[in-house]
Amino acid sequence: MNDNDVVRLEQVTRSYGSGQNAVTALAGVTVGFSPGSFTAVMGPSGSGKSTLLQCAAGLDRPDSGRVVVDGVDLGGLDETALTTMRRERLGFVFQAFNLLGSLTAEQNVGLPLRLAGRKPDPAQVRAALAQVGLGERTGHLPSQMSGGQQQRVAIARALISAPKVLFADEPTGALDSTSSREVLTLLRSLVDQQGQSTIMVTHDPVAASYADTVLFLADGRVVDQLDGPDPQTVAARMTALEGVRDGGGPR
């Protein structure tokens, strides 16, 4: 826990449903992410990893606890202020629902600026696309691009507003292994070259191995942490987690 943390969650709980059917997704999570770090969040399905990302990114509101992003307590913001905050300081890449099919790559990338009421500077948009290796595909529609290319457009769009944190939820979930590698290498180089703070949820040990740190979640709690991960170690920890899941993990 550090005051410098770009994203900090304190005693965050979140459950869905009510009464008998209530499912606890986060059972009091406290975790901090330091600036310029690349963190992967892993865990068996139902472990709460996506909920953690959504609460950290202001897409969902915790039942209790605090979420502080870039020094701002998200609990104090209404829906519109939260949306503006996301638009100006955070970037998102999801597994799907990333691009508007009717907009060209260039228009999709400029969309956050337009939503902020500004006219995108074409040079800035092209630079963002060049940064993800798509400098020559600016006028293409998503349907004319491969899945990997679409995901890189989504990353360029996330980067256009120079976000403090980039959130990625299973960004390679719908991609083949070659495209996955391209996207992950791109994310890694953004961290290395520009100090882009990145938080990525994934279930793929290979994807997680691109991060500096891997957080493991089970039953709504952070149960383990691994620095300098490699695919084999990550896979082994995951297998162990699946096994001890019902008994709760070590803190």
Binding site: T83, F94, L100, G101, S102, L103, L111, L115, P142
Partner: protein, 660 residues
């Protein structure tokens, strides 16, 4: 059909899951069948009543109503069903990916369409049966139908409406399902389709065909072959606006068919500046309208129908009415027209004597005379012509010089000779029966007497204010009740009124033409309302329907916009902007149709109503176009924004997940 049976459970499941699209299809077809069956039941009731004398018959009116209802229903139903199928592109691709053959996909889609269409057709018949008496009593209230007219339920019109609706729905679904069946499995992964090849060759052929029919219909009405002229109702200028609906409909059809070609340039035109401006709503709206041309065309179609039909019909009716009034004013020579007051059958003789005594008075009086027949004697009609009047017709028996009352030009002969046992007829009538000046015609009058009348004049154009047959008083001795008197005098209005002493009513010539014209125009409006009302009402409901369906289609985009940092308000703005683009495009198409039909109207007026040396002004009904556009826009905005607002209640991520 083994595959079909196996896929049936999937069809039922899908029906449960995609209820919004199916509700849309259901509403479109049920109401379409309802208007068709209501009009059909009325049509069936008026069957065989086509022999009423006078202006547009009830049967013709109801026929037009049924035709118009059918026309609009075909459009809305086929495009709604096609739209519902196109919406499921991704699901279809998914099915293909798991191994469904194109044929199986087609039968699945058709199976679902059949289930929905059957239910809708049955409900539509029930609604139609309930609505028919309401329309019947409205027609009676407006004087368009005799009192006592009521609808009689019948099975045949219901069956026809239901099966017609079913066929159109299935045809729409079938065309779309063929397209869906061709979807390649890999396309399941693409999120949004960009429509390609929206204008297949067959659509071009059909568009050109309808444009050709439009020209041909117009040409037919202008030249009016004798066979068509033989029906007094088709040559009557007062019913011309209703007939003009025929080519209005052809123009609408042609434009709808080429809409996929016209829509993109129109959208670009309306949103040309948008990419240069800041803000997201305009850009997203522009790109969506351009990428999903089929959806844009589907949502624009009912709006276009309302605006185009309203513009064409109102513009045409107003133009015809103005032309007939202008023609009447130019032709009426008499300063005053005197008519019985207070429902009296005739003008009193002493009032007429007083009028004749006014300074410089020229008085022409006329009595209505019913002709049961008018034909060449000895049953020897001209070759290929009708022998006799198809229905009894009212003529005018004139005492005095007709030329003092009306300035009428003749094609042949002279009105100067209209004295003694003679007759003058309209040019159309002479053409229909093959009569020539100098022929002797046998007239059968209502009292059973026969008169041998020599045809002395063929009047060039007939006027809506005059009957087609005019005889001198001597030719019809039985007609003594003077129903109208035309007066030319140096005396002022007070003197004329004083001479009448309240026994009759004198109206200045121009005013009389105006009032007469208002009466016929009002009847024309009632007829138009009866013909178009059900169809327009249905098209308005279809606007709501397609807008709601289209918004249901947009949840994924809403999710993306929200996740990219768009507020709810901004997403609403995108929806509003898209609706605006669609309505603006539809209004432009409506304007194009109105231009086309108004041009046709002017041609028709110049050739059928006005004297040859006069020309009609080309006017567009801007007020009506603007009003119709405003109504459509308000409806479309409400019906797209409300479902969008409801959908946006949930969190951005659930938007995409909770598609239904």
């Amino acid at each position: 059909m083994n595959g079909f049976r196996l896929l049936l459970p999937i069809a039922a499941l899908s029906l449960r899951r995609r209820w919004l699209a199916f509700v849309g299809s259901f509403v479109a077809l049920a109401l379409g069948v309802a208007v068709m069956s209501a009009a059909g039941v009325l049509l069936n009731t008026t069957m065989g009543e086509d022999s009423l004398p006078g202006a547009p018959s009830l049967h013709k009116l109801v026929s037009f109503m049924a035709a118009m209802a059918g026309f609009v229903s075909v459009f809305v139903v086929s495009s709604t069903f096609a739209f519902a199928v196109a919406q499921r592109r991704q699901e279809t691709a998914m099915l293909r990916a798991v191994g469904a053959t194109p044929r199986q996909v087609r039968s699945l889609i058709l199976g679902e369409a059949l289930v929905v269409a059957l239910a809708a057709a049955v409900s539509g018949c029930a609604i139609g049966l309930a609505v028919a008496p309401v329309i019947a009593s409205w027609l009676v209230d407006q004087g368009a139908a005799p009192s006592g007219f009521h609808s009689e339920p019948a099975v045949l019109p219901l069956l026809l409406a239901a099966s017609g609706g079913l066929a159109v729905a299935l045809l729409g679904a079938y065309t779309a399902s063929r397209r869906a069946g061709r979807v390649r499995p890999v396309e399941a992964l693409n999120e949004v389709a960009v429509d390609k090849k929206v204008m297949p060759a067959v659509r071009w052929v059909a568009a050109v065909l309808f444009l050709g029919v439009f020209g041909y219909t117009l040409q037919t009405f202008i030249s009016m072959p004798a066979s068509m002229m033989a029906d007094p109702q088709s040559r009557d200028p007062q019913t011309t606006p209703q007939w003009a609906l025929l080519f209005d409909v052809m123009a609408v059809l042609a434009i709808v068919l080429v809409a996929p070609v016209l829509v993109p340039p129109l959208v670009r035109l309306f949103t040309g500046l948008v990419p240069l401006l800041p803000g997201a709503a305009g850009l997203v709206a522009r790109q969506n309208a351009l990428a999903a041309i089929r959806r844009t065309v589907s949502t624009a179609t009912p709006v276009f129908l309302v605006i185009g039909l309203a513009g064409s019909v109102v513009g045409g009716t107003v133009a015809f009415s103005d032309a007939m009034a202008a023609q009447g004013r130019a032709a009426l020579r008499a300063g005053y027209v005197v008519e019985p007051s207070g429902g009296a059958p005739a003008l009193p003789a002493d009032a007429l004597r007083n009028l004749a005594a006014l300074p410089d008075a020229t008085l022409t009086t006329a009595a209505t005379v019913r002709f049961d027949g008018l034909a060449l004697p000895d049953q020897r009609p001209a070759r290929g012509r009708p022998a006799d009047l198809p229905i009894p017709e009212d003529g005018l028996a004139v005492d005095g010089d007709l030329r003092a009352a009306w300035n009428l030009s003749t094609e042949d002969g002279s009105l100067e000779d209209l004295r003694g046992k003679t007759v003058a007829v309209s040019g159309d009538m002479a053409k229909v029966f093959g009569w020539h000046v100098g022929d002797t015609l046998d007239a059968r009058l209502a009292d059973g007497t026969h008169e041998q009348l020599r045809l002395v004049a063929v009047v060039h154009h007939l006027l809506p204010q005059l009957p087609e047959i005019v005889v001198p008083r001597e030719a019809a001795p039985g007609a003594t009740a003077v129903s109208v008197a035309y007066l030319g005098t140096g005396a002022g209005p007070e003197q004329v009124a004083a001479a009448l002493g309240g026994a009759a009513r004198a109206t200045a010539g121009a005013d009389w033409i105006g009032a007469h014209n208002d009466r016929t125009t009002k009847n024309g409006w009632i007829a138009m309302l009866a013909i178009l009302g059900p169809a327009l009402l249905y098209a308005l409901i279809a606007i709501v329907n397609t807008m709601m369906m289209s918004t249901g289609d947009r949840l994924r985009d809403f999710a993306t916009l929200r996740l990219t940092g768009g507020t709810r308000r901004q997403v609403m703005r995108v929806v509003a902007a898209e609706t605006l683009v669609v309505v603006a495009t539809a209004a432009a198409l409506g304007l194009i149709v109105t231009l086309l039909t108004q041009y046709a109207t002017v041609l028709l007026i110049e050739n059928r109503i006005l004297e040859t040396d006069r020309s009609a002004a080309f006017d567009l009904p801007w007020g009506t176009l603007a009003g119709a556009t405003a109504v459509c826009l308000a409806l479309a905005l409400v019906s797209s924004l409300i479902p969008a607002r409801l959908a946006l209640r949930v969190r951005p991520l659930d938007l995409a997940a909770g598609r239904q």
